[in-house]
């Protein structure tokens, strides 16, 4: 079957819009649902839709990283953390409080500021970014040549995180 009579950009735009709605809605639910467990699960939905953005814009490597690392790793870690808390089974563990209205105001102000400046100066420059896209090849080349120092420092950060985890969790005794 040949569907090439439908314009590519319109379909891309539609798919993007679909995932954008999913992303914004799930992000809103993350901060507004009562149960911490549910909000962690909505966070997974949000991260998956961000992964979809990466795929739509041909950054397949970043999309895979997003799913493997964030949905597969970080969300598991967050769920672990939720299950570690003593009060996980009681309904007392709520994540919203009386400051939600002031938070809403701050968010609205940020939104206005951002949309104002985007309307004023446009997104000029965004289309011709100097950094190549997110395929495994370009990411690998950038990491091993231009960003070789941040790459090595990342391993030191991971080492520090490992030692930090050892210090926090600790052992019974020696």
């Amino acid at each position: 079957m040949d569907f090439s009579f439908i314009s590519d950009s319109i379909v891309t735009y539609g798919v993007f819009l679909l995932f954008a709605v999913v992303a914004v809605a799930s992000a809103f639910l993350v901060v507004s649902v009562r149960s911490v467990m549910h909000s962690a699960l909505f966070l997974a939905v949000f991260l998956l839709s961000v992964a979809a953005f990466f795929f739509i814009f041909d950054a397949d490597f970043l999309g895979i990283v997003q799913i493997l690392l964030y949905v597969g790793g970080v969300i598991v870690l967050i769920l672990f953390a939720v299950m570690l808390t003593a009060r996980v089974s009681s309904s007392l563990l709520q994540q919203t409080n009386e400051q939600k209205y002031s938070a809403l105001i701050v968010c609205a102000l940020l939104f206005i500021m951002l949309s104002y400046s985007i309307l004023i100066s446009g997104l000029q420059g965004f289309e011709n970014t100097l950094l190549p896209g997110g395929t495994a090849k370009s990411v690998g080349w950038l990491l091993m040549t231009v960003y070789v120092l941040p790459f090595e420092v990342a391993s030191i950060v991971l080492l520090a995180a490992l030692i930090g985890a050892m210090a926090i969790v600790g052992k019974k005794d020696e």
């Binding site: 569907f3 089974s89 990411v139 690998g140 091993m144 070789v148 391993s155 991971l158």
Partner: protein, 122 residues
């Protein structure tokens, strides 16, 4: 391009149909006789012990963090492996050394945790 989207859409529809279809078919053909045994959590034939909402032991957390750390490490290995040949022809053995250093630092951390007895479950 448009055909790629179509492929994803077909996959999506099939996956959705498979799960929903299975549930719907089961709902239509089964006869409903709920009982205590049937309503307990399915644990591959084992008797479930306690509820699902228990407080986890803190020590699990170390392993979870360890998992994420080495998850990140593997993610970094992948793009390196993809461009390794090109790097080798451009920079020689340095292409290998930079990854060796990266892995070496993390392996040192693992050895540290191991020797200090954090990987043991008492």
């Amino acid at each position: 391009m448009i055909n790629e989207y179509l492929a994803v859409l077909i996959f999506f529809v099939v996956a959705l149909g498979f799960t929903i279809g299975g549930l719907v078919t089961a709902f239509l053909v089964r006869n409903s006789k709920p009982g205590y045994e049937k309503e307990t959590t399915y644990e591959c034939g084992e008797e479930p012990v306690g509820g699902a909402w228990i407080q986890f032991n803190m020590r699990y957390y170390f392993f979870a963090i360890l998992f994420v750390i080495f998850d990140v490490e593997v993610i970094f290995l992948f793009p390196w492996a993809v461009v390794y040949k090109e790097l080798l022809s451009n920079f020689g053995i340095f292409a290998f050394l930079e990854m060796a250093l990266f892995l070496g630092i993390l392996i040192l951390g693992l050895v540290y945790a191991w020797k200090k007895g954090h990987l043991k479950w008492e």
